[in-house]
Symmetry: C2
Subunit: 616 residues, 2 copies
């Protein structure tokens, strides 16, 4: 079968994944490219649109309604209560007919009167299915991870198998299955025709009550810790032919812009289909949604900083030479070793405007980014004239794919100045640190990872002076491109004097002491670190007196793990939200200095308050 002939899987999203009212959610899902939706009952109940109007609205938007959900606590050992359930179901069947959807999710009961006997349960499911069938509808039965008696997929399958009714099948939800640590492999043995609907959700590993975990901390595929390709593969192998549907309860997504969240959600499914196909053992079509794998990355090509006039002297003091002037734009190219920084003097506070990565195949990388719903960068925003492929990341950073030295080389946009500098030993860009907007942290991590083809590299949490900060790094396997993303654990409020959530460029050096000395001698505004930090370092690590004195003198931060040492010297925040750091990795240290971040942040904040006091 040719690649083109394979059908991409249909995609759907449960309305509960998105914030707002049904009127907000449906257009958001359609605009993001979903084929269908699951209507979450509470969304319908709160809506002024009668079900028939929802049906028309979805049709107008090109959305199918793949599921109505959830129907809770069907079965009962009390015949009267079961009769009431059937009555309730008939009402809901009427709603489904008006909606024009044929499948309802029935989840395993959590009630004290839930049926434990599998034969009685099968009998009750059969009775419901018989009524559904009479109206041309069908029942997808799901095991909740916290169901009273049915809480694993094999138990739900056992009940469905015994009930043996054509209008009765299974709903499989990756969260309910993977949160309990169940092995999904045996799903492949269930007849595909009995898999009515597949719900997908990722989640971080959390040691907590599974109901709370499920209701608050689900994530879109690829944003958590579950191995969803390994889950999806046996489902497809079984012959599942329905949509890949998302059901994600998440506190942040519930209050974020649904249009943005829907794009993020849709991207997650495309990336999941790609990762599943990449396993190679998927017998069933997962389509070819991304089409091209991420081309190899060969490093950071450049970082572009928007700036005023204050940045150039600092770059000079850090050993950079201004090697080029843009032919048509107020952009300068600064270089040292393998590190290139573009300074865009269009004005504004100092901020990271763009990242550029060296790609083995920039056009392919750009096509892939577009397939992953990355918005193309408006042409006028880029610093380069060359037809650089560029997209905009969720944090509004422009991302360029370059191949420096190739025919369409961006460097040709710059007139060489002939300026050179001895340098202070910077060899390249170690990584870029980007504070993320609160609503878009998980979206950003998935975006950078899938669009650039990076992998999760580290996660952490540290106590900044004004609240906890969560951090996540993504990098390529060879660690030639690294990004460190951070976000406040809670959205910042009013009380945070002198707070900035800075971005930074970490410059790789082989000898941070020599580099920092040279930088300081040239006038670089290095950040002073308190003596108390060095007293603590001395207590913990028994460093030599000479080394400690040099650290103290230069403001070196020293993070030591079993793998190695991460040494950094930071500049002050440069007139906006950016600082530069000189970073030396010793041994196999693969981290980002997060244990020292609170000290660094407190120092930056003191400097800022001091500056503000001077101005006032």
């Amino acid at each position: 079968m040719s690649r083109e002939a394979r059908t991409a899987p249909r995609t759907a999203i449960a309305t509960v994944c998105l914030s707002g009212a049904l009127e907000d959610k449906l257009p958001a899902a359609a605009a993001a490219g979903f084929d269908g939706v699951e209507i979450f009952e509470p969304d319908l109940v709160a809506s002024p649109m009668p079900p028939g109007e929802v049906r028309l609205r979805c049709a107008d938007l090109g959305l199918s309604i793949d599921l109505y959900q959830p129907f809770r606590d069907l079965d009962s050992v009390d015949p009267e209560r079961f009769a009431a359930s059937l009555r309730r179901a008939e009402h809901k069947f009427g709603v489904m007919e008006a909606l024009g959807t044929d499948t309802v999710l029935v989840c395993s009961s959590v009630a004290p009167d839930a049926v434990a006997d599998v034969d009685l349960l099968a009998e009750q499911l059969h009775a419901l299915a018989e009524r559904a069938a009479a109206r041309g509808l069908r029942i997808a039965y799901e095991a909740l991870a916290w169901g009273r008696h049915v809480n694993t997929y094999d138990r739900s399958w056992e009940a469905v198998r015994r009930a043996d009714h054509p209008a009765l099948g299974l709903c499989l939800d990756s969260f309910h299955i993977l949160s309990r640590g169940s092995d999904p492999a045996a799903i492949a043995d269930i007849p595909g025709a009995k898999l009515f609907i597949l719900q997908l959700a990722d989640a971080p590993h959390l040691a907590m009550d599974v109901l709370q975990w499920s209701r608050h901390h689900r994530l879109f595929p690829g944003q958590g810790a579950f191995d969803l390709p390994a889950f999806l593969e046996p489902v497809l192998r079984a012959g599942y032919a329905g949509p890949l549907s998302l059901e994600v309860f998440n506190d942040v997504f519930r209050q974020a812009d649904p249009a943005r969240a829907a794009v993020d959600a849709h991207r997650s499914l495309l990336a999941l289909a790609e990762a599943t196909a990449a396993r190679g053992d998927a017998a069933a079509p997962v389509g070819d949604p991304v089409a091209e794998p991420a081309p190899e990355l060969r490093g950071h090509a450049f970082v572009e900083l928007s700036a005023d006039g204050s940045l150039a002297p600092v770059l000079a003091a850090l050993g950079f030479a201004r090697t080029g002037l843009h032919r048509t734009k107020p952009v300068e190219r600064w270089e040292q070793g393998g590190a290139r920084i573009l300074v865009n003097r269009s004005g504004g506070p100092v901020a990271v405007a763009a990242l550029a990565v060296e790609s083995a195949d920039p056009p392919a990388a750009a096509r892939r980014a577009t397939r992953l719903s990355a918005p193309r960068l408006p042409r006028e925003r880029g610093p380069a004239e060359a037809d650089l492929a560029a997209v905009t990341a969720p944090d509004d950073t422009a991302v360029f794919f370059c191949r420096t030295g190739a025919e369409t080389d961006w460097t040709g946009d710059f007139v060489p100045t002939g300026e050179t500098a001895a340098g202070i030993g910077v060899t390249g860009i170690d990584h870029v640190g980007l504070a993320q907007p609160f609503d878009h942290f998980d979206e950003a991590a998935l975006f950078y990872r899938t669009v650039l083809g990076l992998e999760p590299a580290a996660t952490g949490e540290f106590a900044a002076p004004f609240g906890l900060v969560r951090s996540r790094a993504v990098a390529d396997a060879q660690r030639r491109v690294r990004l460190a993303l951070t976000v406040s654990l809670l959205r910042r409020g009013e009380w945070a004097p002198g707070v900035s959530e800075p971005q930074y460029v970490a410059l790789a050096v082989d000898d941070v002491l020599a580099a920092a000395r040279a930088a300081r001698a040239a006038g670089a505004p290095l950040l002073a670190i308190p003596d108390n930090y060095y007293a603590d370092l001395d207590a913990r690590l028994a460093l030599s007196k000479e080394r400690l004195a040099a650290y103290r003198d230069l403001g070196v931060l020293h993070e030591e793990t079993a793998e190695g040492v991460y040494l950094q010297v930071c500049t002050e925040v440069l007139g906006g939200r950016v600082f530069l750091a000189l970073v030396q990795r010793v041994g196999d240290h693969d981290g980002y200095g997060w244990t020292d971040a609170p000290v660094r942040m407190a120092a930056h904040r003191r400097r800022r308050l001091a500056r503000e006091r001077v101005r006032a």
Copy 2:
């Protein structure tokens, strides 16, 4: 011993409880009335103040330094690592000398090389204590709930007992003990002189990893679910004579104004001391910090709404009569049954400006509020001329203590109008609903509970159209005064069109259908509820056709539990952030209609968007 002769316990707070840098935390603690602080090492390490300067700063502020903490992973089966620990400890002893504090917290090790053998552990603790004693210092050993071998207080006591060194004692932390479900009663058998320091924290019951629970979700005493009076009592009975010291790691407090948080924290200790004394079996002095128990409450005296001219017609349509005009201020008194609403026409959007409760002894209630650090209300803010005792709540609502009918009756401030109205059956104020500022939810709940003398009545969580909402009700035992507090689970961001976080006054009626009919006939702007809601109600509850038709016609929300039914009809939001509700309780329903809140909130939001569209 006379009440006056008893000494109030000293109070202290660990700097980690508060947001900001040490420069922010120390003055906040002092201003809130704390006697001392625990210096949390990372706060010192990040500070530019040398320890000697911190000492002077604390002395200037009148704060003692009661503890330096924490010292981690002391013991080791590896003699070299233990030697390194002792070296590290000597460095920290130097810091303590400079700080002028004599006690350091050593917590049980979590390291793989931690000592399992209690005799070896005792030997290593003894060695440390010997070194401490040589410098006039002492060691408070604490069992972390997640310590590798020592994770209960009896294990820590066993090690300390065997080490048998005068410079070695225990640190007891209520979180570590109660989170594991340990019975604190046996603490009374430990010699009081061996209890070096007591750390207090509350927490909600959460089924999650205890380390994460501890690091993110601790609360000040009285804000969580732990029985802290039952914990404190045996500690005092053992003869503990040190400070009541708070150690609370909490995501919200970590980023909230430290001055506010410190006041909240100090109040929590006063209330805890009161509650412990009230147990009656405390042999030791807990002092007399509040002095007077909360006087009995007899109901809501009035609610004052700031308003423009739009409110009066609605009150009239709801059957209220304008019975009085304030002698000197633009304030009207409206009455119906036992419900009184003051309308303060000083202008501004409609909002709850004040709550007034009927108190058996207003002056005593006011004295108690002052002892609990409730800020006195500036005189000009009150609607009444009578010398009403009033304080300001954390959400900026004024709280009055009244005794209607007494000599200093506030009603005397109003000139009777002689106006009357037939009414629609409102009998009184059922409760008041107050959306809380994000940073002050736990503070507010504790404030209202302790200052008014209420008890926790219900907690909940529901999905509003723009994110999850947490709710907590407080009420007196007789349910004559009820308050329902709500807060967004995450601080709101930009995406929330038409969101309001309204306040409301719930008016008690005996027949909500009759009352709503009369109100509507008089032109009250009742909130329309979607048909879908009634279709769902019909499916779930099999109500009579007539009842359902009446509900649908009037917009009745029907919440049913095993205890009873809660029926409500709401008005639209009235020109600001307030709506009124007619509430009928059937049976023993003790709730607040939270299951219907999402439907109500979606309806309010639609109305608001529709109004905005009309205006645009």
